[in-house]
């Protein structure tokens, strides 16, 4: 049997004060632009980055690893839930879709 291949990940969480989605960058910043996130292609490294993220409890809440794929600009979501988190709700022009334009 072939070893299960690791699906690339990003570390994501909600910002502590604003509650919106943030992603962890390679230089340890929390970014609101997923394309700037560090794409984690190695499972052990991903687990380590998640632990490091979770230790930053005063900045974020609920850190987890989300599936991502490499894109032209940087990591992109592969699941619709994660795609919504990069934009905001579909019923109003609120959230990241307006704040980032």
């Amino acid at each position: 049997m072939m070893a299960r291949t690791f699906t690339p990940k990003v570390v994501t969480a909600n910002a502590l004060l604003e509650g919106d989605a943030v992603w962890l960058t390679e230089d340890n910043r929390w970014t609101r632009n997923m394309a700037e996130a560090e794409l984690l292609t190695d499972e052990a490294h991903a687990d380590l980055r998640l632990l490091e993220a979770q230790a930053r409890a005063h900045e974020i809440a609920g850190a987890y690893l989300a599936n991502a794929a490499p894109g032209a600009q940087g990591p992109e979501p592969t699941h619709f839930r994660e795609a919504f988190r990069t934009r905001g709700p579909s019923n109003y022009a609120h959230g990241k879709q307006t704040e980032q334009s």
Partner: protein
Amino acid sequence: MYQYNDFDEAFVRSRVAQFRGQVERRIAGALTEEEFKPLRLMNGLYLQLHAYMLRVAVPYGTLNPAQMRQLAYIADRWDKGYGHFTTRQNIQYNWPKLRDVPDMLDALADVGMHAIQTSGNTIRNVTADHFAGAAADEIEDPRPVAELLRQWSTDHPEFQFLPRKFKIAVSGAVHDRAVTKAHDIGLRMVRDAGGAPGYEVIVGGGLGRTPMVGKVLREFLPKADLLPYVEAIVSVYNLLGRRDNKYKARIKITVHENGLEKIQELVEQRFAAIRTGFTGHDQELLKDIEAAFAPPAFVSKSTDGYEAARLANPAFRSWTDTNLDDHKADGYAIVSISLKKHGGTPGDATSRQMRAMADLAEAFGHGELRISHEQNVILPHVHKSDLPEVYAALRKADLATANIGLASDIIACPGMDYCALATARSIPIAQQIATRFDALNIEHEVGALKIKISGCINACGHHHVGHIGILGLDRAGVENYQITLGGDGTETTVIGERTGPGFGADEIVPAIERLVKGYLRLRKDADETFLQAYRRLGMDAFKAILYPAEDKKHAA
């Protein structure tokens, strides 16, 4: 209406002060998220997909104009200028910042409101018939009892760590508008042989992943026994309810696994043990509360102007046909204000609309507003002679949609547009269905039809009891919508039946359209509702409409 006494005021203020300290410690890093989460949930603060969400209790759905105006103020000052009314008669703010929440709670306390026990494994906000105190078919106003239950359950030391959340609904009328059979405890006011009012006590109902219709635990409970009896039920559940598996922790599973008889036996035992501890103080308290809910001073005046306006203005007539219900007082009507404008978000109201509704309640509604579990706002006491003016004001506020009880009066949970638990979106589906039926211009012809949409198995959108229920799921990374038919949330509660395979996001609206148009062809006459036609014809007739290609395949 009930007004906070000094005890309520002091309790709510001290809770805000505690929470302010907890928020400060969380921001300072002294509390981790794991430590903070149960504390914030006890105060109604969730963390969702895009922001925090504050769920504010509207006890038994009753608001006065000052409270509604304060909700508008909070929306403007700390949120994005609107609020979302929910299926538990609450209001949710979708965009609060953590630092602002204690100030929001203080602003709520200024008008006798709070967010306590709107989350967590406690007794939640007690809901009631939104027509309470007004409905023509009412035995007694259920709100005094709901308020008694609120006071009893708030911070009740025995019930702060239940196996799971616990929801109680109270109805005082013949027709059940409070979905009592889908609650952990449902209380329906009935009369005994001698005519004395009491309660039918229903237990173990609920929707969610294991939907169950509540069972009658006691056919008749005298009014004075209510608090000790309810306490006995929750007490038995607290010990017996499962804590090993959250999906089996609700009382519906406890009742299902132990059997109704066993639960009856244990509750009666517990009731006998604690009954004597209730020495009548609760009944004295109830009398005071009942006085606070005394009916307003109804006036009698001519309704000629109303009848003339109906004849003169077809739009007004159409609105009165759908948005009014029978009132117990002569010359009065119950007005349902639709928060279901075609294409809008079900249950949302802007701050401007909230103020407009508060103004109307003050000018024409004896100072009362209600939130319905169907996510509309009710003016329970409006004299018919004032209706033309009320309607004109509602039009100005973009609140005059004439669709109560029709296809576009859809219940929808926030779904994956906001909720962290959701598996698919529900709001866009509701918007598209309503827009489509408006374009077809057939919803008045279709008549009574309840469409209810949930964005996950937890069923906040009550899809199981929709005549047409829609459940949004994640099927291999794509939004998919399952349909159930024949659900009913009234006194004849039925859990809807699944039709078969689900539909993609682009297929679900045409599927609903097929169903409804098919019903129009199948119904005996214009008086046979969708639900009646479904009950007469059964699932197969509707399946054939829903899955036409498959039907041909079977025939071939």
